[in-house]
Amino acid sequence: MSAVEALSPSRAPNADAGGFVDFLDVEKSYDGRAFAVTRLNLSVARGEFLTLLGPSGSGKTTTLNMLAGFERPTSGTITLEGQPVDRLPPYQRNIGMVFQNYALFPHMSVEDNVGFPLSVRQVSKADIAARVGRALDMVRLKQFGDRKPSQLSGGQQQRVALARALVFEPSLVLMDEPLGALDKKLREHMQLEIKQLHTMLGVTIVYVTHDQSEALTMSDRVAVFNNGGIAQLGSPDDLYNTPRNSFVASFIGENNTLEGTVDTISGKECRVRLDGGGELTALAVGVAKGDACHVAVRPERLRLGSAGDSGNALPASVDGRIYLGDHLRLLARLQNDQVLTVKVDTEATMANGQAVTVCCAPGDCRAFPADAGAAGSNSKQGKTK
């Protein structure tokens, strides 16, 4: 039996109907006045890698803590495999958890750390040794078993924490910014490693991060949190290409935001008059005629063209250039003094002050209501895939 098989929980075949984890109208307030989490409805499918993404204070960690059992919802219910867990203390939930600072026990060896969840479950000594060995094998730390955590590097410590959270074969593993303390290169490496473990073991992972690239790289679905609610829930692809509000549009990836007013609406598209002059056509996402709106367009969807091109063509002047090795970012100042970032290839030779025309297809511009930065009005959403 391989290490991987040994650690795989028994997977219910095709248990997609009904969530594995469900949040039903969950609310949390710490002080009785403000809500850290408001009317949260979220369903996690079995075997899914779901990421809670958001800026600090957006409620994602509170949500995770409620699921782990460290916080109790002020109202609403959380169910795990259909059973409400509100009254279950954390040590009875059988949920693995990985913490940002690893939370390894400094007075125990690596082996004892990984063996801890087994020994508190009264597993026999021989069994513990075998399972700890397999778990350490899985994270490639077999030879470090008798070291103390402080003798390991950050990445190794995080792998120990992973082994410890997986060794007792929980079907759900929570990760609270587990890679936050690592440097960029190691972080990217560990992202792949966690993703591989998820694929191998088939566990359900709920992952919290404020790093959007991490969320896009690893997740099946991402819930973007803002102001205590979900601003949008969807696959990384959905979030990047079809953001539903200006918060998601600006939080995921890089976006240019132009402020303006909706002039006319025709079908899916609308005509937007930009503040300070200029006009463009964009997809209307929840805007009505006369609304103040934000138009979001990605730098890679902008190109330099000429005034006669089809689609939107905005006259601008070059304000600066940022060299990034594989491409160039051009800062183009529009006539209304707003500055757009345009992704161009490195051969482009533009002098500062040179007049250019910035073009883009109307389908790549998305117009959102200007005041819809706040979210939290989501109804229950199933898996969109």
Binding site: P90, N101, P106
Partner: protein, 426 residues
């Protein structure tokens, strides 16, 4: 010329670079040691004034004082002739008459110098009852008229009693183990062996045991009171923690004498504590809290609480809340998590706090003097008594020395069990 100049200059630099980076690790480590030696010397120089002060005002006086426990020239200086006359005595029976004559001469001279009383006291310390005998003999020698000194000496039975001369002879040895043995209720017997002193003379072992018992009881009490409080302070929000810490430290900033005096007021038979106990119905009659062991332990516990609490608190503060969360999430019930995750991590702080309190309690003086009864005096009170009242510095030094040895031994055991680097003193 101008082209070759830079390369000429570079050559030594290149050679140095090779040797540093290169093939001879021995010379590199030697260079490293030299560099570090300089650093160490500099940091030592920074501490030099303090070290000098400690040596002059602390180290040397302690050594001098403790040396009095084994070095006492009082009798040898006062009885030079007797010392000489006893030089060839074998210690059996009575010495030759010459020794009696020499002692008589020494006694008369001490009387003439005005140091007879001091000598009488010094002899008395080793030879109970010697004080009055010496003073009596001195007076008789003075008023003897024409009577030969030898006859006067022989007429006093004390000087021919068994045990007198051996005691005088050991007294004339400046280097002595007498005081150290006395501090442990031991003495040399007539056969040259070590034996326990008779029970009615034994005091110090009991006092040492009492001192250790009181220190242990106070340590336990401060731990039982301090541990939960430290846990509370480390887990409440910062603002409240600051207030609680001030509340703990407030008595800490008051002089120990003032706090002890306050307890003497509170613990009176008609004091507040007794009033409260009666009012609550816990006690049916007024308790003797003053001048009792229990009152002493209460007052000392109050004074020592911060010493135990602060090291524990400082360790607790460093334990991240995620440690316990992790333990819970891994399936540990609260008590298991506490026992296997929390307690082992605060253990060094607990040990440090307890050790600090225990060692400080061993040296308590004012509180037992003011609150304890006659049977609650600790070893420090006896030492102080020997220094201030009895003027027997040798005995005081011997008791101090034994206390120091016990304390160091205890510290050594702690350090051995725990490792000195794990003792987290704040």
């Amino acid at each position: 010329m101008s082209a070759s100049l830079p390369s000429e200059l570079d050559r030594p630099a290149l050679a140095r670079g090779r040797s540093a980076a290169g093939t001879d690790p021995k010379s590199v480590s030697a260079a490293l040691r030299r560099a570090e030696f300089g650093d160490r010397l500099r940091s030592l120089a920074l501490a030099a004034p303090l070290l000098l002060l400690l040596a002059l005002s602390f180290g040397i006086p302690i050594v001098l004082l403790l040396s009095r426990a084994v070095y006492d020239p009082t009798i040898a200086d006062a009885l030079p002739r007797t010392s000489q006359a006893l030089g060839d005595w074998n210690g059996q029976g009575l010495p030759a008459d010459a020794a009696f004559t020499a002692l008589a001469a020494d006694l008369s001279e001490n009387q003439a110098r005005g140091s007879a009383y001091e000598l009488a006291k010094a002899l008395n310390a080793r030879l109970p009852g010697a004080r009055s005998q010496v003073l009596k003999t001195v007076r008789q020698l003075e008023g003897a008229g024409g009577k030969p000194p030898l006859e006067v000496m022989k007429s006093v039975p004390f000087w021919s009693a068994p045990g007198t001369w051996p005691a005088i002879r050991t007294g004339t040895h400046s280097l002595t183990s007498f005081y150290l043995l006395s501090a442990l209720d031991l003495r040399w017997n007539a056969d040259g062996g070590i034996e326990r002193v008779p029970p009615e003379q034994a005091i110090f072992l009991q006092v040492f045991l009492r001192t250790f018992f009181v220190a242990g009881a106070v340590t336990l009490a401060t731990l039982l009171l301090g541990f939960p409080l430290a846990y509370l302070i480390s887990s409440v929000p910062k603002g409240l923690a600051a207030i609680l810490i001030v509340a703990v430290l407030l008595p800490f900033w008051t002089s120990i004498l003032v706090r002890t005096a306050a307890w003497t007021v509170l613990l009176q038979k008609f004091g507040l504590v007794n009033d409260l106990l009666l009012w609550l119905g816990i006690a049916s009659e007024r308790l003797d809290l003053m001048y009792s062991r229990i009152g002493l332990i209460i007052a000392m516990t109050h004074i020592q609480l911060p010493f135990t609490l602060l090291p524990i608190y400082s360790v607790m503060r460093t334990i991240a809340p995620s440690q316990m969360k992790a333990a819970y999430s891994l399936g540990a019930k609260p008590f298991t998590a506490f026992r296997r995750v929390y307690l082992p991590q605060v253990f060094p702080g607990v040990m440090a706090g307890c050790l600090l309190t225990f060692i400080l309690c061993l040296g308590y003086y004012i509180t037992p003097a003011l609150i304890g009864g006659a049977s609650d005096q600790l070893i420090s009170n006896f030492i102080a008594n020997y220094v201030n009242v009895e003027l027997n510095w040798e005995m005081a030094a011997a008791l101090s020395f034994i206390l120091l040895v016990f304390t160091l031994a205890l510290f050594g055991i702690f350090a051995r069990i725990l490792g000195l680097d794990r003792l987290k003193m704040v």
